[in-house]
Amino acid sequence: MTILANILVVFFIAAGLVFIVVSAIGLLRLPDLYTRAHAASKSSTLGVMCILLGVFLHFWLIRDHFNPTILLGILFLFITSPVGGHIMSRSSYIAGVKPWSGTVRDDLKPEIERMKKEQKIK
């Protein structure tokens, strides 16, 4: 039983690690903010959720300690992380951070111009 549990834990943690490392590489290597934010918010969220699940399982299965806080944490991360990433990118765009030159599509630009016009702001 313990071995099985251990395997499970190790699996989740390893998976999580992979995601985390990937997102870190993404943050380092990707060309502009938006792509990096993408890497940060998606991949790392998945990573951390995996790891936390592993930790949770460790305490539950091996230590026989059911810890609701971790579950709550996972839930919380699940809700907030993407929102955070979204808000961040959006704000940066409004603040004038230029996308990568290779960007193909930019839907926000006309929208913002329309709003500016509406509120008579230059």
Binding site: V9, L17, L27, L33, A37, S44, I51, H65, S91, S92
Partner: protein, 93 residues
């Protein structure tokens, strides 16, 4: 098992170092904030792993806290980047 966890911790820490490079490098504040956010995530992982290592559930409280703070922080930063100010007195104006 322990060795695996230690390795995992080292990897996470290394990740953080890499992210720190992004914080130092920039180039825009937004990049730094994103990196910081990710550091927060890595921190959560680290705390989780560490509590497995030291075999103590008392650190698990930190996980949720970190998540909360990282979210609030990100929102605050984004608002700051967007408007230069965090709190708006009256948004309807």
């Amino acid at each position: 098992m322990t060795y695996f966890l230690w390795a995992a911790i080292v990897i996470v820490v290394l990740t953080m170092v890499a992210l720190l490079y992004r914080i130092v490098k920039g180039p825009t504040p937004s990049d730094r904030v994103v990196a910081l956010d990710t550091i927060g995530v890595a921190l959560i992982c680290l705390v989780g792993l560490l509590s497995v290592v030291v075999d103590s559930s008392f650190f698990l409280e930190i996980i949720l806290l970190l998540a909360i703070l990282s979210f609030v922080g990100t929102i605050a930063f984004s608002k700051f980047i967007e408007k230069g100010d965090i709190i708006t007195r009256d948004d309807s104006r």
